[in-house]
């Protein structure tokens, strides 16, 4: 399956008696679009939160590109190329789209500590921001305030901020929720393109099974904090355990 | 040595009980409304001035002042909650804090306008004047009365919160606002009620302070609110049990501090506050 980007070893996380990750072991590979599926409460969002550093693991190890990041703070993981978007829109509401994207780009280029130079003078930052805005099709709204965007555009911006940090591995938490078909196809197209060039490896949490099966190379099914299925979309469709706890509900 | 120790202890406890009366309302209001009210000290001051005003108007009966003063203050509290605070619940923290701070400025000057800027002497209390001999030294009866009032209020609050329907509602909304909304609690009414009650408690403290402090100043509100802040921080924001123990600690710390190390007293108290915030922000006495 190629070079592994992220390795998870014996990962555990529980909230009281609710187990959201139980002895998880898996790896994520470069260039392989992976979807994580599971019924509500299967531990998908919690898993992303633990892997990206928003929550601490109870035990176990997380290795990213050959370095252990289990106890690294969020911003260090991001610097190493571990990014994420959020399920609920989580942008810089009162800033313009340009500024929204400039923040991760400044961090990426190591220019964020400059107190004297004007942002307008940092050409490389401006160019990178405009490139990302073009990718998601929001360039014409660059100087609008984020708060005033439509819901679909906000979702695009949500993904764009994550992309702007130039991640190697990017977790997208329900990226297409609440998008109209046009926006949805644009975001999926962007994902495919970036994935093909090998720049970004995507891991997607998604409820829409059409998207999961058409987009992913690999699907991981979670149930009660355990992996109950892991393989190609076809293998997952055939997996009896997955059908029973998850797909079964929809197929039936 | 021993007798002075006993007396320093007693003085500390009675000072702590005044702080407790302010801190209990402050922490109750914070627990339910999530607003830290700078003006809570002003209720203490208003309670003292109004008690004194009633006392003078009604021919010197302290008990009548103690009854009426705090009642008037709780009405003031209602007006403040209903017509001002309610407008800022949805705003960020600085706006909420500053609104209550603006009220401090307004209350201070209103009191100065009505009663004058100078200090007013205060009277003895019928039935509780004089002093008793404890460990070989005289100790005012009134201070013993205060030391008794504090725990009584604590017990009363405990009963109210744990044993009554109202108390359960208050506790439920303090721990989970969404849940309270979903089971149909009348939240605006609850907020007004809790705020009025908190104001009343603080004003009772102020009224009781009239014979204790000997003179009234507009600065008494600011002085006690800072102590109360320290107390609710040490006890854990929103915890009544913590506030009670915190009041005792701060009261004792200041009386021992004043007696034995006057240089370090204030520094130590605020140092304790900072230390708790840094290493145990859930409060000193929180479980787990």
């Amino acid at each position: 399956m190629g070079e592994s980007l992220l390795d998870v070893r014996m990962l555990n996380k529980a909230f009281g008696t609710v187990v959201t990750a139980k002895d998880l072991n898996f790896s994520l590979y470069r260039g392989v679009i992976t979807s994580i599926i599971g019924p509500n409460g299967a531990g998908k969002s919690t898993l992303i939160n633990v892997l990206t550093g928003l929550l601490a693991a109870d035990s176990g190890e997380i290795w990213f590109q050959g370095r252990e990041v289990t106890n690294e703070p969020i911003h260090r993981r991001v610097k190493q190329g571990l990014g994420r978007s959020f399920q609920v829109v989580n942008v810089f509401g009162n800033l313009t789209l340009f500024e929204n994207l400039a923040i991760p780009v400044l961090a990426l280029k190591g220019r964020s500590k400059d107190m004297i130079k004007s942002i307008a003078r940092l050409k490389e930052v401006g160019e990178h921001v405009e490139m990302v805005l073009t990718q998601v099709g929001l360039l014409d709204k660059a100087y609008m305030v984020a708060r005033s965007l439509s819901h679909g555009d906000l979702r695009l911006l949500e993904v764009a901020i994550a992309l702007a940090a130039k991640p190697r591995l990017l977790f997208l938490d329900e990226p297409t929720a609440g998008m109209n078909p046009v926006e949805r196809s644009r975001i999926l197209e962007t994902i495919r393109q970036l994935s093909q060039t090998g720049e970004v490896t995507f891991v997607i949490v998604e409820h829409d099974m059409d998207i999961v099966f058409s987009l992913s190379d690999r699907v991981i099914a979670l149930h009660k904090g355990k992996i109950i299925g892991d393989g190609s979309p076809e293998q997952i469709k055939m997996n009896p355990q997955v059908r029973e706890v998850y797909l079964g509900e929809e197929v039936a | 040595m021993l007798q002075s120790l006993v007396h320093v202890c007693l003085a500390g406890i009675s000072a702590g009980m005044f702080i407790w009366l302010v801190a209990s309302g402050l922490t109750l209001v914070f627990g339910v409304l999530r607003v830290l009210n700078f003006a809570h000290g002003s209720f203490y001051m208003l309670g003292a001035y109004l008690c004194f005003a009633v006392l003078k108007a009604m021919g010197g009966n302290f008990w009548l002042g103690l009854l009426l003063g705090p009642l008037i203050v709780s009405v003031v509290g209602y007006v403040m909650e209903r017509y001002l605070l309610r407008l800022v619940y949805h705003l960020e923290l600085p706006y909420q804090l500053l609104l209550t701070f603006a009220m401090v400025l307004i209350f201070d000057d209103l009191v100065k306008m009505i009663w004058g800027a100078g200090s007013i002497g205060s009277p003895a209390v019928p039935g509780l004047s004089g002093s008793v001999s404890i460990a070989g030294r005289e100790f005012p009866v009134y201070n013993l009365f205060i030391i008794a009032v504090g725990p009584l209020v604590a017990l009363g609050l405990y009963g109210l919160l744990e044993k009554t329907w109202w108390g359960r509602i208050v506790r439920a909304s303090a721990s989970d606002r969404e849940m309270a909304l979903s089971i149909g609690v009348n939240v605006p009414l609850l907020y007004s009620g809790v705020f009025m009650f908190g104001a009343w408690l603080s004003a009772v403290g102020g009224a009781l302070a009239v014979p204790y402090v000997g003179l009234l100043t507009t600065g008494m509100g600011e002085a006690i609110i800072i102590s109360a802040f320290i107390v609710v921080v040490i006890g854990g924001l929103g915890s009544l049990k913590g506030a009670f123990l915190g009041s005792l600690i701060v009261g004792l710390l200041s009386s021992f501090g004043t007696r034995f190390m006057p240089m370090l007293d204030m520094f130590l108290t605020f140092g304790l506050m900072a230390a708790v915030l840094l290493w145990r922000p859930q409060g000193f006495f929180a479980e787990g």
Binding site: I74, D114 | F101
Partner: protein
Amino acid sequence: MNQYWKYFLMLGCLGALVGIGFVSGPFVLYLATRIMILSIFALGYNLLLGRTGLLSFGHAAFFATGAYGLAITSIHISAHPLLGILIGVAAAALLSLCIGFFCVRHTEIYFAMLTLAFGMMVFALIWNLRSITGGDDGLYGISRTAISLGIVKIPIRNDYQFYFFVLFFFMVSVFLINRIYSSPFGLVLAGIRENHIRAEFSGLSVKAYRLGVFTVSGAFAGLAGSLSALLESNVAPFSAHWTHSAEPVLVSLIGGLQTFSGPVVGSVIFVALREVLQRFTYNWMLWFGVLLLAIIIGFRGGVVGSISEAFRRYSRP
């Protein structure tokens, strides 16, 4: 408002300030000097409050550190004002770095309470260390000796000379803080205010930036403090008290938290209004309270924010 208007306005203000220095009487001059000092304090402070969204009740401690730093230098080491200011600002920056290191672990109410606690610890030290700080008397007799720069000596003893001395620092502060607002660092601060989790996920150590801005604002508070020590020729312990920390908060709020010039406009209104109110009534605090209420409830943009909002509406076809 476009760029040219802004420069035009700034030049106008500068012209007016220079004009005041030449033609006004001693009382107006004194008020204008105080306004500029308060502006420096509030401009720096608003980097923290308006820009980063952190409410500190401890900045009076840094103001006082600047003031006492200058006073102690002036009395014991050298009366050279620039050296005093340098030491005052450095001490304030160092102290705010140390205090900030602990405070930035928390946000919201816990941050406000921590800054209050640390600020009052500084107040307690100043109050109690009589032999160094003069205790409740403060320190007296700080002289405004001439600034000797090699062969040149610039006198600042009389009020007009000192006015221009403060004007110089005011302009430097305005320039620096304006740069910070349009700098990457300034944008990161706004990002932290808007959404600190997203800022962290943008690859930024939020705590480090909070500490950075805390220290910068502490340094400006120190500058304001040391200038005020020179103005009043004494320092008082209550300049470290938390109630003094409320001053830059009020000023920024009156002028407009989300604007660059808000703290300056707020300072003008605060000082001028206070003088006027004190003429007519002893109860100026009451009116400030009412003004604050009105701003919090009705005009959260402050004076500058509300006016520019009205301007925008008016100019829109």
